[in-house]
Symmetry: C3
Subunit: 157 residues, 3 copies
């Protein structure tokens, strides 16, 4: 069977997991927008204090950091430290031809723990819980990266 | 026709759009460098105050944020929140086998609005205009992510 | 020969280089964790000051930036400005069917200079040295991006 075909259950699982993570990442931007509208602030550029349709009554406090907005930005920052690497590592992992069941466990294990990490971060749970929910995804990334590296080396020899 | 071939107009359009976005992203780093040289500052690490060939006359003010530099860093930050997801979502979208014309509209619509967003940000236009130019790209990302997810699910059933 | 096969030495070299860069990026998160444990601080969320198993004796100074932690965060930030674009540009560059030797030079030249850049940043070498080690990777990225763009255009005409 062709590797990069949606008929390959490993690739189909990857595409589903990747799409969910991309939609999650994009929705962080919209969540930031929603919170900026709610608190009418959390802006970062001097020009954001100009009077406009969306900001009819500007004042300098709007440039101060607001924790409701900054929290989403920290979550988004955490996504940037993790998701792009998952999106590539997961794709390359498909070429190592893992068993479909094992690959699905890795891909969806990543997705589920990342979504739980998001909820824990958004609702300000303890650092320990956040760490516990971040760790599985990071280990999955390391495993997939190492598997790709070994496959690439073994084919090169 | 093979999906991942430059003879496939959908894939060729993706590669062109992705390459333009990558070159855009990389040029943000060079723009930061250019502005740091211009203002002789905007540094972030304590060691950047050491006397060197490129910084013959260091002083502590060089570590203070400078808006000409910080503006490009905010643009680069915005790229990081968007471009990696476009680069993957666009690639996976090719596997849903969209019509070439529709795919070209999405890919180049993304590229054009992102470049316009960049110009609006660099020249300090209003938050409203920036938001208006960011929104199409984000909606294109959501559409492509959802299309990939549905394709992956429909092949798995 | 199939382009996207580990039997293709260009693709195998890309997979090896990408895997090394992904493992490098992920290890930055663990280095941050290690340094946060070492300095018992460098936290960023208000809830990180709650008493937990991993933080039995919290105090407000733990939310202050600590340079040992912030340095790794700056390195990670630099990775985010570079690695995702390399990971995609390198992959698309495989479709331009470069000679294996040339591709290996580009891919591993990128990897080696990025690892040297990391060591220079971690050990607080001068800005000039860091710039000298960042530049080759950026030029490789620009070259690969331009080669992909030209290939995509030449197939579209």
């Amino acid at each position: 069977m062709e590797i990069l075909s949606l008929h390959n259950p490993v690739f189909a699982a990857y595409v589903a997991a990747a799409a969910i993570m991309i939609l999650k990442a994009v929705s962080m931007s919209w969540l930031t927008v929603a919170r900026m509208l709610q608190v009418r602030g959390g802006f970062r550029s001097p020009e954001d204090l100009r009077q406009t349709l969306l900001n009819p009554d500007p004042n300098p406090a709007q440039l101060a950091p607001d924790d409701r907005v900054e929290r989403v930005r920290r979550i988004q920052q955490n996504d940037q430290e993790n998701l792009p690497y998952f999106l590539i590592a997961g794709f390359l992992f498909v070429f190592t031809e893992p068993s479909p069941l094992f690959a699905q466990w890795l891909f969806f294990g990543y997705v589920v723990t990342r979504l739980m990490h998001f909820i824990a971060y958004l609702t300000a749970q303890t650092h320990d819980l956040r760490a516990a929910l971040w760790t599985p995804g990071s280990l999955i990334l390391i495993y997939m990266g190492a598997a790709c590296l070994m496959a690439a080396i073994s084919y090169s020899i």
